[in-house]
Amino acid sequence: MAQLLCEDLTLGYDNGAILEGLSFSVEKGDYLAIVGENGSGKSTLMKTILGLLKPLKGEVVFGDGLKKYEVGYLPQQTVVQKDFPASVWEVVLSGCLSKERFFPFYTKADKARAMFNIDRLGLASLKERSYRELSGGQQQRVLLARALCATEKVLLLDEPVSGLDPVVTAEMYDIIDSLNRSGITIIMISHDVQAAVKYADKILHVGKTPFFGTVGEYLATDKGMAYLAEKKARKEDE
């Protein structure tokens, strides 16, 4: 049974569908990259998986021991967070607030989990620092640690490297890769097809005619090749 199963999903808002006929599944340990042009519905799909948005048709089925609220989430940074006065410790710890719990304060286990994830992402020396003083890459690592506090099963990453310089981008991909190898399922939203093809093992290309399959299959399609070539050409132009 797949952790996440979507069949013939129609997504969108009140005023119309953005994505139609979307089918895909995510197995435990997968590294799935969701790619597509701007405005193709990547964010809508992400919100639907997270349960922030209801699909217009069909449903997202959770299985293999995964529950709805066990998808860890690395969001894109918001303007609000840029000058938010919070320490790294506070941000990471806030990932431990989960659903079925009335007790409003953090337990010892929560704190231990937060500490574990801070160490895991090499943030120990920054623990007391203010989140707003960190570099973009460090902030992403903090948010990743927070997501790991929320779950150990599936991580959903929304453009995890946007705004990062090439060195930090490579670091970030390495971190994600190592998390994947430790058994965490990764779903990554990206507009960088090069990286998606390089790191992921499955691709979901959203758009008018969606594609879902392994990287090898994707590269064999006209669309995959065309998209890659186009991207490459654009990169060379720059």
């Binding site: 609220y69 989430y73 506070e90 989960s98 304060f105």
Partner: protein, 286 residues
């Protein structure tokens, strides 16, 4: 200077002055709690909007002839707060626009009511008092003091109890929601707390100056403190100290200055001070 201290000493003999000090400090304490959340959620002006709604409700209560105005002002303000904060994300009319919309309407409506059905011979003085706080904090009955104190303490307790979730909802609402935190419930709690704080704070500074009470301490604290906890604690301390200084100044100065504006000016001075400290701290580090 001796005169000043003597005057304060004299006034402190009166129970109504002591009440005013106690209530003033408690109101300052709870009004600063949510300042950080509101500033960061870009809702700095909600205080203004809601206090105008409370002003309108108060006018209606006066016209109807209710002696216990809190009974009508509180529920109306709470409902307005819930509606305003709920429109935050997906509304047709955006957050700041709806605040402006509701606040001017309530202000106009309230003033109109007071003129249409005047309850005293001097409407302008009444209005001015409600808007700028005049002396109402010095005219509280013991019953009102107890209600104010009770509500203020309740607010603080609720805030402490939900502190971690309020943090999570403020920092990243979508993440909180995705991990199963009932964000709507906590937004509701935030809205109710704000409404209660505003109705209380109207007694202290009047409805036009409430935003100062909510925002100044938070902004001052954000200049120097680094974590959410330290910002919250610092802003509470700033708020209590400035309120106390403002109250004592207002009592002690021989000219008989109004309490509300005095507190706000003291808070502005404090903000300037913290701004400078923050600025110097940054320079020194670089």
């Amino acid at each position: 200077m001796m005169d000043f201290i003597q005057r304060i000493g004299q006034f402190l003999q009166f129970s109504f002055v002591r009440y005013a000090l106690i209530v003033g400090v408690l109101i300052a304490l709870c009004s600063s709690l949510l300042g950080v959340t509101l500033v960061l959620k870009r809702f700095s002006f909600i205080g203004d909007g809601l206090s105008h709604v409370a002003f309108g409700a108060m006018a209606v209560a006066a016209v109807v002839g209710l002696t216990n105005q809190m009974l009508i002002v509180m529920p109306v303000t709470v409902v307005a707060a819930i509606l305003l904060l709920r429109t935050g994300q997906n509304a047709r009319v955006k957050g700041d626009a709806s605040v402006a919309l509701i606040s001017v309407f309530a202000l106009a409506f309230g003033y109109l009511m007071m003129n249409l059905f005047p309850t005293s011979s001097n409407v302008s003085a009444d209005v001015c008092g409600t808007l700028f706080g005049s002396v109402s904090i010095l005219t509280l009955s013991p019953w009102e003091v107890w209600v104010c104190a009770g509500l203020a303490l309740l607010t603080v307790l609720i805030f402490i109890f939900f502190y971690n979730r309020i943090f999570a909802v403020t920092f990243d609402e979508n993440f909180a929601k995705a991990t199963g935190v009932k964000t709507q419930v906590y937004n509701l709690i935030i809205a109710v707390i704000i409404a209660v704080v505003i109705v209380l704070a109207m007694n202290l500074v009047g409805s036009l100056l409430i935003s100062a009470l909510i925002i100044f301490p938070a902004l001052s604290a954000m200049r120097v403190a680094k974590s959410f906890l330290s910002v919250t604690v610092t802003s509470t301390v700033i708020s209590v100290v400035t309120a106390l200084v403002g109250l004592l100044l207002a009592i002690g100065l021989p000219q008989g200055v109004p309490v509300g504006p005095t507190i706000v000016v003291v808070q502005a001075a404090a903000f300037l001070l913290f701004y400078l400290v923050g600025f110097i701290k940054e320079k020194v580090k670089v």
